[in-house]
Amino acid sequence: MYDIEKFYQARSVADAVRALRADERAIVIAGGSDVLIEIRDGKLAGCSLVSIHGLAELEGVERTAEGEIVIRAGTSFSRIANDPILLRTVPMLAYAADQVGGPQIRNIGTIGGNVCNGVTSADSASSLWALNATLELTGGEGTRLVPIREFYTGPGKTVRRHDEILTAIRIARADYEGFGGCYLKYGKRNAMEIATLGCAAMVRLTPDQKAIAELRLAYGVAAPTPMRCTATEEAVRGAAITPELLDRIAQGALNEVKPRSSWRASREFRLQLVSEMSRRAVRQAIVNAGGEADV
C-alpha cells in the first residue's frame, strides 16, 4: 500500500503542465520505477502525483526528414532496446537501455524518467552525453531545447522547471552518422544492477581509417553528474591509431574524471575502472567505426 495523497492522471502533456502549475507540491510520475521506491521509503510519503503514464504523444521513436532522431520521453527501455531505428542509427543507446535493471523495470521505466531523475548512474545518460543529445522541455511558457551538457546542475538536480515535462530527446544526424560507439556498464552483477561505472565511447575515423577524426568519451558515476572528457577528446583529434593511443586516452580520462569514494566503491577502484573501461570501450568503438584497433 503506497502513501499517495493525491493522484492525477493527465490526459495530455498540456494537461499535465496545467496540473503541475496548479499544485506546486505535485511531482511527475511516468513508469514509477524511481518515484514509487521513494514513496515506499517514506521520502515522498503523502505526495501529490501528476501521471504522464500512457500518454500516446510521449511514446515512440522517429527519424525526421533531416535525419534527426526523436525519442519521445515516455518510451520504455525495452522499446528503445528493440527499436529498429535506434538499432540502425545509435545501437549503443539501444544497448545501454538494455542494461537497465531487469526485464520488468525495462518494461515500465522510461528514458525520460531516467534522464530527469538526474543521477550520475543512469544507464542512458553517458550515451546521451556522447551523442550530444538535446532535451525538449515543454512547460507553461512553451517549449525549449536544452543541450544535455547544460541539463544537469548537480546530483539529482537538473534545469527542468516544476511545470516542465521532458517531451523528447533529440539527436542530430551529425552526432551519430559515421560514428562507431560502445557503451560498457560495470556492475557487480549482470542484472538488477546500478552502475559502479558507465562508459560510452564514440569514434569517427579519418577516411583512411587509420586515425581518429573525432572521439567522444562520456562517463556515468565518474563525477557527481554524467560527464564528457572534452580535453582528452580534443587532444586525440587526428591522432593515429597506435598502441599508445589507448594509453593516452586512458590517462586523459583519469585526469578529467572526479570519482568519489563511497561505500559502494572507492575512488581508487573507480579510477582503475575508468582507465580500463576507456581502453575497452574506445577499442570497440574503433572496430565498430570500421577501423582496426590492434595495430
Binding site: 510519503a45 552483477r189 580500463e276
Partner: protein, 771 residues
C-alpha cells in the same frame, strides 16, 4: 514408486499455478496492521517517547512502547526446550526493548487500521535516547574496558566459549616433535550475509475462546508456540500456531521472530485480528544474519603432506542478541577437527561475542560454511606451499573410514568422501584442467579449485531429537499422513509421501499429506533445521507406516483367512508374500474395515521417535573460474558438487537441493555482504545494494552423487538439506588462487577487493591523474 524414485513434487502444481496458500493468502479481511518502531541508534537506552503526533494520525488504534510490555526476558532460538534452564538458550530480550542493542531494535509498535496510517505514525514517534558508542567488532567487544551489552546474563560481552585439544601435547610442542616440518599460518574471515528467503516474515494473530491463534511463516511451529507462551507469561497451550506453506526460511525462520509481539498485540487489543508483516529492509536489517567468523589458524605437515598438527582460534560476531548464540561457532570449531586427521594434535578454540551488529542466528549449514572456508583455505595454502596437488593433500589426510568424533561420539556410519573426490575428479576433468591452467599469464586467466566438507545429520547428541507421525486409512484405501515436520520449500512433503507409500505399500497418489502444521492438531515435532527431517522424521514415518501396515495385514488375515505372515502389501494391493500374487485391493479392505458389521476398525497409527543416532554426510566442490584482472571480475565457468548423502529418496529433488545450495554458495563467495556504517546502521539492507546473484550471474549448476547406504538412516539416507552450500566458496577462492597466484583470505571476493589484491601483487599497475 516409493523411495529412490523422482516422483513429481506433491505441491508442484499448487505452487506453480499460484494456488498454494501462504500466510498472506489466508489473511482474513479487516486485519489491523502493526508496524514496529525501530531505534535509530545501535547502542543505548530509550529514555522517553513523545507519541502525541503519532497518536494524532487518523486511523491509529494504539501504540505500545517498551515501557508497556511484560517484564519477561525470553530466548528466540529454534532449539528444543532444555529442562535445565542454565544449559539452554540465553534469555536476553523482551517483546520491545528499552535497552537498545542493534540499529533498528524493536522499541515500540504502532497498530492502525491500514499500512499507510501505521507507517505515518511510526515515522512520527519521537524518541529520546541515552546513546552509547556502538561496539562494532568482536575485538572491541572483548576489550577489557568494553561496556557489557547484557550485564543481566553475562558480565562481559563473551557470550560463549568452547575448546578442545585432541591427541598428544600441544600445537606448539608438535612444532619440535620431528625435523623438517613445514608450517603454514593464516587468518581467514567470513562476512555477514542474510538468508534472503523470498517470503518476508509475516504473521497474523487473533484470539478465540481465550486462546491466542498465530498464523505464521515459520520453520518451527511447535517451538514458536512454546516461545510465545514464555514471552507472554501464559501457559503454552493457550497458544495455537498454524504454519501454512512458506516461501523459504534457510534458518532465519528457525528463530522465533515477531510471533510473540504479534500475539501480545492481539492480546492487548481484546483479541482483534492484527497482522505483522516485515518489509525486505526490516528482514535484512532486523531479523537474523549469518555469523561473521574470523579465524587464526596454523598447520604443521611433513613435506609429503602428512598433517601433524593444526590449531584454530575462531571469533564469532553474535550481534545484539543471543539467538542461536555460541552453538554456531562451536559447530564451526568442531568441523575443523572432523574433516582432517592430524597425526599428533588438533586444537580448537571458539569465542562468540555480543556486538551491536544485527543479531546472528541460524543459517543454512550453521557455522560450517564459515568453518569450511577457514579449513579449506588453510589446506589449499598448505598444498601451495608444499607444491602438492590439492586433491592429493586432502585425500592423504581426510576423515578416515569408521570415524567417530571423540567429543560428540557421532559415528560416520558411511563415509563416501573418497568416492566423491574420485567421481568429481573424472566428471570435471580435474587433472587435465589443473595442468592446463598451471602457468596462466595475461589480463584474463583461468584456474580450478577444490574444497571438501563434512556435515552431521540432525542435532543429536547436542540437542533432543524427537519426531512424531500419524497416519489413518481412509475408506478408499488411501492414507492421510500428518507430520509435525515442516515443508519449507525443500520438498519434505514429497519425500515423506514417498516414505509412507513405500512402507505401507501404496502408490503415492494414495498418500495425502497434510502440509499445514497446526499445533492443536499436528503431531509434535521440532521443525525443519539441521538437515534432520528425512533422517529423524523419516524414522517416524517408517515406524508409523510399519504399524499401519501391520494393522492392514491383520485385517487382511481376518478377511482372507490366511496367516498374516504369508501376506504383504504392494502398490495398493494385499499380495501373497511368496510370489506377489494380488489377493485383495487395499481399497476394498479399507471400506470393509470401516463399515463391517462384524469387525469395524479404524486403521490408524501413530509413532513417536526419540532418535539417539547421528551420522556424517560428506561431499566436495570443483570450480573453474576465469578472472578478468584489470576489471576485478571472477566468472565461474563451471561448478560441480558431488555429495555423499546416502540413498537419495528422490534423486530429482536432491539435485534441486544441490542447485539451490551452490547458488547460495556463489553469492557467499563472490558478492554478498551486509555492510554497516560507523554507527552500526546497515548500508545495504535491500536487494539492489545487497548483491544476491541473479540468474544472469550463474553458470549451469552441476550435481552428482555417490549413493552409499547409511545403515543408520531409515532408508539408507543422511543429511542433504544444508550441505550443498558449504564448499562452493572455498573452491572458488582456491580456483582464483590457481588462476592468479593471489591468496584472498576474506569473503566475499568482491571486485574492489580483487583489484586491491591485484594491485598489491603487482598484476595491476596503480593508476591515477597526472599531477
Amino acid at each position: 514408486m516409493g523411495v529412490r524414485d523422482s516422483i513429481k513434487r506433491v505441491d508442484a502444481y499448487e505452487k506453480v499455478t499460484g494456488a498454494a496458500k501462504y500466510t498472506a493468502d489466508l489473511m482474513p479481511a479487516g486485519a489491523l496492521v502493526a508496524k514496529v518502531v525501530r531505534s535509530t541508534i545501535a547502542n543505548g537506552k530509550v529514555v522517553q517517547f513523545d507519541l502525541s503526533e503519532a497518536l494524532a494520525v487518523p486511523g491509529v488504534v494504539k501504540i505500545f512502547t517498551c515501557f508497556d510490555v511484560p517484564d519477561i526476558e525470553f530466548a528466540t532460538a529454534g532449539h528444543p526446550y532444555v529442562l535445565d534452564k542454565a544449559k539452554g538458550d540465553v534469555y536476553d530480550r523482551r517483546l520491545l526493548n528499552e535497552r537498545v542493542r542493534v540499529y533498528g531494535d524493536d522499541i515500540a509498535a504502532v497498530v492502525a487500521v491500514d499500512e499507510v496510517a501505521a507507517a505515518r505514525a511510526a515515522r512520527l514517534v519521537k524518541v529520546e535516547y541515552e546513546e552509547y558508542a556502538p561496539i562494532l567488532s568482536v575485538e572491541a567487544a572483548l576489550a577489557p574496558d568494553a561496556m557489557p551489552l547484557h550485564p543481566g546474563v553475562r558480565d562481559t560481552n563473551l557470550l560463549g566459549q568452547s575448546s578442545y585439544r585432541i591427541g598428544e601435547g600441544t600445537y606448539e610442542e608438535a612444532k619440535h616433535s620431528e625435523p623438517g616440518l613445514v608450517e603454514v599460518t593464516g587468518e581467514y574471515g567470513t562476512q555477514t550475509v542474510q538468508h534472503c528467503h523470498m517470503e518476508t516474515p509475516q504473521s497474523y494473530a487473533y484470539m478465540e475462546n481465550d486462546r491466542i491463534v498465530v498464523v505464521t511463516s515459520t520453520q518451527i511451529p511447535h517451538i514458536v508456540r512454546r516461545v510465545v507462551g514464555q514471552a507472554l507469561g501464559i501457559p503454552w497451550a493457550r497458544v495455537r500456531v498454524i504454519k501454512p506453506y512458506i516461501g523459504g526460511g534457510f534458518g532465519n525462520k528457525q528463530d522465533v521472530l515477531y510471533e510473540p509481539l504479534n500475539a501480545f498485540l492481539t492480546q492487548q487489543l481484546g483479541g482483534r485480528l492484527v497482522k505483522l508483516e516485515l518489509t525486505r529492509e526490516e528482514t535484512m536489517a532486523c531479523t537474523r544474519v549469518r555469523h561473521a567468523i574470523h579465524a587464526k589458524v596454523k598447520a604443521l605437515a611433513r613435506p609429503d603432506g602428512t598433517l601433524i598438527a593444526r590449531k584454530l582460534e575462531a571469533y564469532s560476531d553474535q550481534g545484539g542478541y543471543a539467538s542461536h548464540g555460541h552453538s554456531i561457532c562451536a559447530n564451526c570449531v568442531t568441523m575443523f577437527k572432523q574433516l582432517y586427521h592430524d597425526q599428533r594434535v588438533t586444537e580448537g578454540d571458539g569465542y562468540t561475542a555480543y556486538t551491536n551488529h544485527a543479531t546472528a542466528g541460524a543459517m543454512r549449514a550453521y557455522g560450517i560454511p564459515q568453518s569450511d572456508f577457514i579449513t579449506e583455505c588453510l589446506m589449499e595454502d598448505l598444498a601451495d606451499k608444499l607444491g602438492m596437488d590439492p586433491l592429493e593433500l586432502r585425500l592423504k589426510n581426510c576423515m578416515p573410514q569408521g570415524y567417530v568424533d571423540p567429543s560428540t561420539g557421532i559415528h560416520a556410519y558411511s563415509n563416501g568422501i573418497r568416492e566423491c573426490v574420485a567421481k568429481g575428479r573424472a566428471l570435471f576433468g580435474w587433472d587435465e584442467k589443473r595442468a592446463r591452467y598451471a602457468h596462466e599469464t595475461g589480463d584474463i586467466r583461468r584456474g580450478v579449485g577444490f574444497a571438501m566438507f563434512d556435515y552431521k545429520t540432525g542435532v543429536y547428541p547436542i540437542s533432543l531429537e524427537v519426531s512424531n507421525c500419524r497416519m489413518f486409512m481412509n475408506e478408499d484405501g488411501s492414507v492421510s499422513l500428518q507430520m509435525g515436520a515442516t515443508e519449507i520449500g525443500q520438498g519434505a512433503d514429497t519425500v515423506f509421501t514417498q516414505m509412507a507409500a513405500e512402507t505401507v505399500g501404496l502408490t503415492e497418489g494414495n498418500v495425502h499429506i497434510v502440509s499445514t502444521q497446526d499445533t492443536d492438531v499436528s503431531p509434535f515435532d521440532l521443525g525443519a533445521y539441521g538437515s534432520r527431517q528425512t533422517y529423524v522424521c523419516g524414522m517416524a514415518v517408517k515406524r508409523t507406516g510399519e504399524i499401519l501396515k501391520g494393522k492392514v495385514l491383520d485385517y487382511a488375515s481376518y478377511k482372507l483367512k490366511k496367516p498374516a505372515e504369508e501376506l504383504d502389501t504392494e502398490a495398493d494391493w494385499v499380495v501373497r508374500r511368496a510370489g506377489r500374487e494380488k489377493l485383495l485391493p487395499i481399497a476394498d479392505l479399507a471400506l470393509e474395515a470401516q463399515y463391517s458389521r462384524d469387525r469395524a476398525e479404524r486403521l490408524f497409527a501413530e509413532a513417536s521417535i526419540d532418535c539417539h543416532e547421528n551420522t556424517i554426510s560428506t561431499g566436495c566442490t570443483f570450480a573453474e573460474v576465469e578472472v578478468d584482472i584489470p576489471m576485478g571480475r571472477v566468472t565461474v565457468l563451471r561448478i560441480l558438487n558431488v555429495h555423499d548423502s546416502g540413498i537419495l529418496i528422490n534423486p530429482k529433488l536432491a539435485e534441486g537441493q544441490v542447485h539451490g545450495g551452490i547458488s547460495m554458495g556463489l553469492g557467499y563467495a563472490l558478492s554478498e555482504e551486509l555492510l554497516y556504517d560507523e554507527k552500526g546502521r546497515p548500508r545495504n539492507d535491500n536487494l539492489l545494494d545487497y548483491k544476491l546473484p541473479t540468474a544472469m550471474d550463474q553458470p549451469d549448476l552441476e550435481a552428482a552423487f555417490v549413493e552409499l547406504c547409511d545403515p543408520s538412516g531409515p532408508f539408507g539416507n543422511k543429511a542433504l538439506g544444508e550441505p550443498p552450500t558449504i564448499s562452493p566458496a572455498p573452491a572458488i577462492r582456491n580456483a582464483v588462487l590457481q588462476a592468479t597466484g593471489v591468496h584472498f583470505n576474506t569473503l566475499p571476493l568482491s571486485p574492489q577487493k580483487l583489484v586491491e589484491g591485484f594491485v598489491q601483487a603487482g598484476l595491476i599497475k596503480e593508476v591515477g591523474p597526472n599531477v
